[in-house]
Subunit: 151 residues, 3 copies
């Protein structure tokens, strides 16, 4: 059987918050078939600023990790338990970045590493990352994601 994802979260010292609500008439997530589409989520605490200007790559990594925790809170809210995830399918990192910033991939690793820590091999996902000119409320990063769920 193996340990549950919830136990692994505990070992990692991660406590999932309640899923933050959508700010308008949209959904935190939509399930179609066995795919779970999760809305773009930013880090908790309302940090404001751009990578390569207000924030370093290492700070961005930590914000991507915090955004990953917000994503997992939505997934748990959607499925009841993270054990219902059979695969992390895809993530897109929208990084609020200076025009000369070049380390977007290292920032998004904060998300990817956490998915691997939590889900192991099932956490390996396809991904892309880009520098956004600006983001809502000047968040440093927003991550959109798709999960596969057990049928």
């Amino acid at each position: 059987m193996g340990e549950s994802i919830e136990n692994r979260l505990k070992q990692l010292g991660i406590e999932l918050p309640d899923a933050s609500g959508p700010a308008a008439k949209y959904a935190n997530y939509v399930i179609t078939g066995n795919l779970l589409f999760v809305s773009g989520k930013g880090p908790s605490g309302n940090p404001k600023g751009k990578l390569g200007r207000e924030f370093t790559t290492e700070e961005g990594y930590q914000y991507a990790r915090l955004a990953a925790i917000e994503v997992l809170a939505v997934v748990k809210d959607a499925l009841g338990s993270l054990d219902q995830v059979s695969r992390v399918v895809r993530a897109q990192g929208l990084v609020n970045a200076d025009p000369e910033f070049e380390e977007h991939h290292k920032v998004l690793n904060g998300f990817s590493d956490l998915m691997n820590d939590v889900f192991g091999e099932k956490g390996l996902h396809a991904r892309s990352v880009m520098g956004a000119n600006s983001l809502r409320e000047n968040l440093p990063i927003v991550i959109e994601s798709v999960f596969e769920i057990k049928s």
Copy 2:
């Protein structure tokens, strides 16, 4: 049974245009399984400019609503009738924005509100939004979307 989506459009005073064609060797939409992937669509009328520079948030909201109507025109062209939509799954708003713009979410609400007006609960979708540095033909917004269709 309830009223048809076409009737609801009429009540909202919305007349769908013919679907605007793709500008190159790509498709307006692709159907795979019961998912309909719609290409990025901008507002009609070829407006040009950036949010936070040429356009206000309220103007952006109206452009997002106009882009939503272009998206629905493609969906109708793809499915014959909007009644074949079982769920709006996902939308991504690409907002042509100034580096200091922070209200991308309020702009994309023009799309989300229209989907709710037209489809009700089925119109609730996962979404993300970002500030693009620039967009094709200097459009203020382009919206990419995915719909679930009745099987």
Copy 3:
């Protein structure tokens, strides 16, 4: 039957490289159901620069074509043969662009044209394209994509 995709590649004078590996703890691709999600891929050769600044639209077109070849290398690695592709579903072009650039669509045509050359009608895909403020390692373009595979 028709000729195989591999033969068509040969006729086009395209030799697929080995798939370039992901740079961190993520996957080059994920298969879920009959959808293949491919991670964002840039052109080979590590070109650096922005459209509308260091690079012209025509150069960008060629880079999009080179990125398409990198994408196909991943698809072949994933499926064993490109003949297993039943449809190119969706592509998103992230173009590293100057704020005043307006020809993103013409750049992404380098990807779309190649997909049509290689797959014919099956190569027609839904797509969107945006100007990114900056990209990892200052690549001129990164393309994320989804393919449908034969069941």
